[in-house]
């Protein structure tokens, strides 16, 4: 009896190694500075992680389908700048959908190149990373974009507002995570995403339209980026052209940390969310502990590698690889 309990615990550990790692880090930080678990701080970190999180949810689809997306950082800068500009030119009611359309057009372009033309996703999105950055700069003329009348607009709702005591970015993050979890795990489309990423050739022979699935994954990713841009723009009501720069690597780190395979075919939204929270809480925790910031860069990555190791060790049931 006791043994079967142990076995059950072991199975949970193996399945959710990253969750265990997450809880361990939270306890460690809370011991180092009790203010870390202050509810304001916890909510604050989740709120500021929401931007990264929303993007990571979209990229999870792309990664599960066996591709990469390095363009999401530039694309987020683009959508932020565009929505701020259109806010003053068209008003938020028209500006927000227009920005979603423009951002998703970029996603459709990438989806077309990777899905239908079968170009390597690393090269395509690496190219788009700098092409979209150029597009943003051309659009704005290099200037910071700011909403003129910051007090007279309701646009701040998405980034600063609260609904039922919960910050709106967290609600958007949670709703998107729940909705896309259903799509990825419960719909035929979701199963096809796993099939295409797991074994593309087999998927094709099974009659799955591989190109179309990949195309939709990039479309979903760009939708999420547009949402992240909306939160970002609404949070500060103004932005630099480089606001999303470098986020693509953090997003990928969160997705991979959550256990998605770079080769495609595995990964879940829930685990990606855990990956995002780990990154967010590490950054916040190190700040609260008050570590010298040069050291923070090093410690951040030591913790991430530890987390990945814990995850893998739990999966195979031992710390070292049996095959050296």
């Amino acid at each position: 009896m006791a043994q079967s309990h142990l076995k059950a615990v072991g199975e949970i550990l193996a399945k959710h190694g990253i969750l265990v790692a997450f809880i361990l880090f939270m306890i460690a930080f809370a011991l180092l500075n009790p203010r870390f678990i202050n509810s304001d701080n916890l909510l604050g970190v989740v709120r500021s992680s929401a931007i990264l999180g929303v993007m990571a949810i979209g990229v999870t689809f792309v990664v599960v389908s066996g591709n990469l997306d390095l363009s999401v950082g530039s694309m987020m800068s683009f959508s932020t700048i565009v929505v701020l500009d259109l806010h003053d030119k068209l008003g938020p009611l028209l500006g927000i959908p227009a920005m979603f359309a423009m951002t998703m057009a970029l996603g459709a372009l990438i989806g077309f190149l990777v899905g239908y033309l079968k170009l390597n996703s690393l090269i395509v999105t690496l190219g788009m990373l700098s092409a979209i950055h150029g597009l943003t700069l051309t659009y704005s003329g290099g200037k910071n974009m700011d909403i003129a009348d910051k007090d007279g607009t309701w646009f701040g709702f998405f980034g600063q507002g609260e609904l039922l005591g919960v910050p709106v970015p967290i609600l958007m993050f949670a709703l998107l995570a729940a909705g896309l979890t259903l799509v990825l795990s419960k719909t035929p489309f979701g199963r096809k995403v796993y099939a295409v990423g797991g074994n593309g050739v087999a998927a094709t022979f099974s009659g799955i339209p591989r190109a179309r699935i990949v195309f939709y994954c990039y479309l979903i990713s760009s939708f999420c980026v547009a949402m992240a841009g909306l939160i970002q723009a609404s949070r500060s009501l103004g932005s630099q052209n480089t606001v999303g720069q470098g986020l693509e690597l953090q997003v990928l780190a969160a997705v991979i940390l959550g256990g998605a395979s770079l080769l495609g075919g595995s990964g879940t939204i829930f685990k990606t969310v855990i990956g995002v929270l780990i990154l967010g809480f590490i950054q916040n925790g190190l700040l609260l502990v008050g570590l010298e910031f040069y050291v923070q860069y090093i410690v951040t990555w030591v913790i991430i590698i530890l987390a990945v190791w814990l995850d893998i060790a739990a999966k195979r049931g031992q710390l070292w690889s049996p095959i050296a």
Binding site: R35, S130, D146, S239, V243, L287, F293
Partner: protein, 319 residues
């Protein structure tokens, strides 16, 4: 980005072609900029430089942009040497890597003026003059602005300050932080700087850093940020936590957002650094060198203090 750069370069080449046709001016001055378009400051700088050169009959300008790329900047230096311009102004993409190119120009008898951010000290022998802001003084002046305000409020003996610095490793960030940290204890010996964290010149990052500071410290009286862009990020965080009213915000490089926040009474002060002054000072330094005037090696242009009290004397920054 490449499209835009090409456009800029092509325009620059076209204007150079026009220089040859007109040939009325006394001096041809070439400039290779760091990365036009990456931020509003550099974009405004370029426009102001071109305007100042056009307004001056003595000068024809060859305006190039390195796009943040060291290799391209070195190639542009060599182009300018080939074209045998009378003087070269360089906004270094990297303080170390451009030194050989600067030396080459110097050896070819072309005076080199460094603008905005200086090159590393090993290269000083090959540079005629540096024209730009004095970042150490800027940091010191920010400390004075903050201290004066604390004295006015009567909290100069207990105030606690946090600092949000620019990108680690950047000269401007290091110099401003150094100026602030050295001057603050001289003017307000009892004010404590409790912590410094980098905001990487990024508003969003600074907002996150400030959120953590607000959780960590119950008592924050002042925030010094390496530029107003970061300062406004910190202000946003404090406003969200309902603590902005208790905190004095001081920045540097007054941005339009900082100027507006000062107008609303939320942000106390900054350092007024105009890209227009920066560009005009660089061109004037080059002209003075060519005129044979005696100019100092470190030719700083003035960057005055700006606070809510005297902001009406300044135009709102265009960036």
């Amino acid at each position: 980005m490449n499209f835009r750069k090409t456009l800029v370069t092509t325009t620059a080449l076209a204007s150079f072609a026009m220089v040859g046709a007109a040939a009325a001016a006394d001096y041809t001055i070439g400039i290779t900029q760091n990365n036009v378009g990456v931020d509003s400051y550099q974009t405004t700088y370029e426009k102001a430089f071109i305007a100042a050169a056009e307004a001056n009959d003595k000068v024809d300008a060859v305006v190039l942009d390195a796009g943040g790329d060291v290799a391209r900047q070195i190639a542009q230096m060599e182009d300018l040497i080939q074209q045998n311009v009378d003087a070269i102004i360089i906004w270094p993409t990297n303080g170390q890597a451009v030194i050989p190119a600067v030396r080459k120009a110097h050896n070819a008898g072309i005076p080199v003026i460094v603008t905005n951010s200086n090159i590393a000290e090993e290269g000083f022998d090959f540079v005629r003059s540096f024209s730009g802001p004095d970042n150490v003084t800027q940091g010191a002046r920010s400390a004075e602005i903050m201290c004066d305000k604390f004295k006015e409020m009567g909290i100069e003996n207990e105030a606690q300050v946090v600092q949000i610095s620019g990108q680690p490793g950047y000269t401007t960030a290091i110099e401003r932080a150094g100026g602030f940290e050295d001057r603050l204890p001289e003017v307000c010996p009892n004010v404590t700087l409790v912590e410094t964290q980098p905001g990487d010149w990024n508003r969003e990052k600074s907002q996150q850093v400030m959120e953590a500071f607000l959780v960590k410290y119950d008592d924050i009286d002042g925030v010094y940020s390496g530029d107003d862009n970061m300062g406004v990020g910190a202000l946003n965080a404090a406003k969200a936590a309902d603590r902005a009213g208790d905190i004095i915000f001081v920045g540097a490089t007054n941005f339009a957002v900082g100027y507006e926040a000062m107008g609303r009474g939320e942000y106390w002060g900054s350092i007024y650094q105009s890209p227009v002054d920066d560009a005009e000072a660089a061109l004037q330094t080059a002209i003075d060198v060519l005129d044979g005037k005696d100019i100092p090696f470190l030719n700083y242009f003035d960057t005055p203090k700006i606070t809510q009290d005297n902001m009406s004397e300044f135009d709102k920054p265009v960036f």
